[in-house]
Symmetry: C3
């Protein structure tokens, strides 16, 4: 089955249900850039796509960086002097700042407060904090709770380890007809934050599941990595074979209620940029296109000047542009499976066009060929015979000179890509076209 | 005499009268893509321009096509059982579908109706129908007449022949200083339809008559051809010498009341595109510019990917965009000689600019040359001396570096082409410019 | 000291006072394209910048021109029959048409009137007239005075000489690190006209004074020349070393109340064009950008097709676009020192950006380098750490691939040039950047 058929017959309800179930499974796990929460996440995703697991040892040099120590956490809490747990990691893993060093101490409120983080503007929400490269510890609590704390001696426990270990990532390779690749990259280093990044993980799991069920022209590589250090590690390990990546997308924030947003690659007018913008323009949804900037997610690394891959980012509301971002309010209520589905559908449409976006050569380029005698054209010359697919035939014939892709023809003619593709198939069958090979 | 002078001294009234008379002569003839009506049309045009007549035998291979059998018709009618002619080809040649096979039969109304064509939306008008490549026959009548037909036995006669013969076309070659050519192409395959194509035929006849009375830099080739098969045939016969065609225009629909419309060549920014758009912008008339599309008239063939000539189309309302198109309402009342004249004037202006649109080299390119000592410039430095033609001199000197044509200079400076041309002539005379040869 | 620091610490009040004093010194002198008034002007400017003086003999061939005879004038007047001086050169040197031949004659009013010039639209103002290349003479007076003249015998005296001599120009060369040059050209051929050209002379004097007090990357060449013949002469004398001129500006009309105006070079998108437009957009002042045209001041010569230097013109209201232009109303009241200062500041800002507008190479181009470990970046990943200079660091790293200048990075990122420059300095210090050499 071709991807076109798969997309045409997609079952929205069934997929939304699968998205919902997967998000519920992934949401509670305490993930960080290393550790067992990341491993557990990859294991769950392996139920959908055959990810291989890579473990890169602490201290491995990756470009200007090195793989950090591995962080794991079993438990953490703050008890008051009556022995009541007033903050409990097991209730919400955001309570502990990621990469907190182990702590077991009694301390005054004043002392404790130095390591407490809150969001005064959103007094009910718990913030999300990390401290990957500073040896420190912290608890994140709501501002309302912070204000209610009384003078007391608190029993503080963080039962964590920061030790030599590994950075884990998952990689799924789906072989197509050619070794040219499409890269789909999703970070998985955030704990109980649903839009950023559980929504993305559920999208790529289902995207991968669909891709492995169809016959493909491109090979696809889906990587599940910790943000920043993960893409740096992956790029360092794969530096010699990056040239096979022809197009790529970074997945994130795909489940909120905001408009779809495409952030262009550093190149700005690469095929992935043109295709994704075309898909959004034809999606019937409202959307934004933004230029590349060197901030955001792993496109920062893919689009660094020495790498400069044609990788954009297709998301909904970008990082930091919604108040729930990196707080406990980015939860399962904030993300709707139907939004994730709509995002997934656009990813599939991008893949569909990339799969079909070939260039052709008109084999009868001197004047128009006879379409009527080949059954391709109504022979009566009345103007009523000018229906859209006839125009698609004429446009494909006219522009198939090896310099125009089917997307170029669709854009120039204003005719939908599907009709242009149907026309090119019909012309190929009649041997009026041949595929153009660079 | 130069074309500039001829255009400046053009006699609008006299030309409108000539256009009117010629259209009255051409309108009644029953033309098709082959046959005696086409020959008669060429013969009438020979009274204006020395067209050579080419006859290409049926069956000749022309690219993907072959020249069809020749169709001729002497008479056609439908009589009712009382012997009354209710439809008569001699009253209006649109009554017979072009390329109808011969018929002589009596039939019921029911049987007859299968071969009747009408326009229910315009119940008084007779449609125009053709069936070049299907062996069939038909009559076209008004919808009002169609509704009034009663049960009867009808006597149907089409006295036509479809036999081996020739495809005819006329060709006028007007030799200029150089062998570089401007191609003017006009189809002549429509019977009594006035805007499409009698207006175009009268325009090219008078354009050719004017061109043959002036001295020219370019050689001009005017071809009078049947649509589609005619341009394909002509291109096939002239394939080896197409490189001499530097610019071209397809003439059609030049007499209705609509705005002038320029349809760009497939190249899109060829010199013919720039010149024609410049002429329209400076015409004082309202106009439209539309991009190339592979539908319409013979630009489809001239702009096929293997031919790709710089040929646009200058017309008024494009095919199919007015209700009278391809109906009996496209008659001598629908087309005004003053509209045809205005169209002709724009064609002449295009030719005028193409004739003059050379590139020059400033022979004193280091700083400004002395204009005062050469009598080209007022020597008092007062600002009042800045009149437009002084600016034209300065612009021509400044941009005559071999990369800017006079049109480029006119566009960049905002100074009218005529003033730029006058300035370049003055500078040539003073040997401050020389013509740039590629 | 770097130019940045000098501009940051500029003393507006002190400079405005200096501008005012210098304009008062320069305004009364009777300058023309040659002669002692020009020499005296250069001598005064030598008090500010170490101009060398060049004397080019009458008759020297310079491209299509030759250096004219030298004109000097001691006195001129018109007396009425009572011996009363009714027009006196010593009261206003505009009274005598520049390059007037010597005259000593008595004549009727009627005869005199043939050589009188007035401005009827501005009846109180004296016009400015020249006659460099016609041997004639004339007086310029107000229209009110002209109307009041009665029938009488007038005693007319112009005590001038037109003899072989020299064309004078001043040239200041300020050596920088490289031999690449920035050319600043100012004409000095106008007598008591304050905006055109005393304002420009005072600007370049103070610009030069500041430039010679700072360390520079570029070498600067300031030339004080007569308009047209002066720049032609200078270009002819320096033809072989023009390639060292990388950027240039023509200074004029910098003191009126109008908006700043940048007239682009003929090239149109040269670095000087981009830099000056950037400076104006970021000046907080209103301004105009106009395309090159081959009229105006000496940019006509610098931008002639055989020279074609990247030289624009930064001015306030262009020549001829204010009524006081080339009249006695262009006086010390018309020009405000604060306007000249504001213009000077933009010239300094242009120089500042040109000095700093280098291209760099990211030395760690594969993914982002670690900024935190180098003290360049806050290590906590909270969004609040995204402050503008962090973005400047990321943009400079991302675009430093040898093809983007710092100005390009500023424009693409929307971050102010100063912040981009600060970021590039910090990155250079940490050896994350190296300078890109073409």
């Amino acid at each position: 089955m071709k991807i076109d058929e798969s997309v045409d017959n997609i079952n929205r309800k069934a997929l939304e249900k699968e998205i919902s179930l997967l998000m519920q499974k992934l949401y509670p796990i305490c993930r960080s850039i290393t550790g067992n929460g990341f491993r557990e996440t990859v294991r769950i995703l392996q139920e959908y796509i055959s990810l291989s697991v890579h473990e890169i040892p602490t201290g491995t040099k990756v470009f200007d960086w090195e793989v950090p120590k591995e962080w794991n956490i079993r438990d953490a809490y703050i008890k008051n002097s009556k022995g009541v747990k007033i903050v409990d990691f097991k209730e919400n893993n955001l309570h502990v700042m990621s990469y907190s060093v182990p702590v077991r101490a009694k301390m005054s409120l004043e002392e404790l407060q130095k390591n407490l983080f809150t969001l005064p503007d959103y007094p009910d929400w718990i913030p999300y904090k990390t401290s990957y490269y500073n040896e420190t510890w912290g608890f994140c609590i709501s501002y309302n709770q912070f204000k209610s704390l009384t003078d007391d001696i608190y029993d503080v426990c963080i039962d964590s380890t920061i030790e030599n270990g590994c950075l884990t990532y998952g990689e799924y390779y789906c072989k197509g007809e050619t070794s040219d690749e499409i890269l789909i990259s999703c970070h998985a280093c955030h704990p109980s934050l649903c839009n950023d990044n559980v929504s993305g993980l559920s999208l790529v799991a289902l995207l991968g599941k669909i891709l492995q069920s169809v016959s493909l022209r491109y090979s696809y590589r889906i990587i599940i990595i910790p943000g920043t250090i993960g893409s740096i590690t992956w790029l360092a390990k794969n530096q010699l074979s990056l040239a096979r990546i022809k197009h790529g997308l970074v997945v994130n924030n795909v489940g909120d209620n905001g408009e779809l947003t495409y952030k262009r690659s550093r190149i700005g007018d690469a095929e992935i940029d043109k295709v994704t913008e075309h898909v959004l323009r034809n999606s019937g949804l409202s959307f934004n296109i933004v230029d590349f900037s060197p901030y955001g997610y792993d496109e920062r690394q893919y689009c660094s000047p020495g790498i400069n891959l044609p990788v954009g980012s297709l998301q909904r509301t970008p990082h930091g542009q919604y108040p729930e971002y990196h707080t406990s309010a980015d939860n399962l209520d904030f993300v709707l499976p139907e939004n994730v589905f709509d995002s997934l559908l656009q990813y599939l449409n991008v893949c569909k066009i990339l799969e079909n976006n070939k260039r052709y050569i008109n084999e009868k380029p001197y004047c128009e060929p006879q379409l009527g005698s080949r059954g391709l054209y109504d022979t009566s010359a009345a103007p009523s015979s000018v229906v859209v697919d006839k125009m698609a035939l004429l446009w494909v014939l006219n522009l198939s000179d090896g310099t125009h892709s089917l997307l170029d023809i669709s854009e120039r003619s204003g005719i939908k890509f599907d009709l242009i593709k149907t026309a090119s198939d019909a012309l190929m069958q009649k041997e009026l076209l041949s595929e153009y090979i660079d």
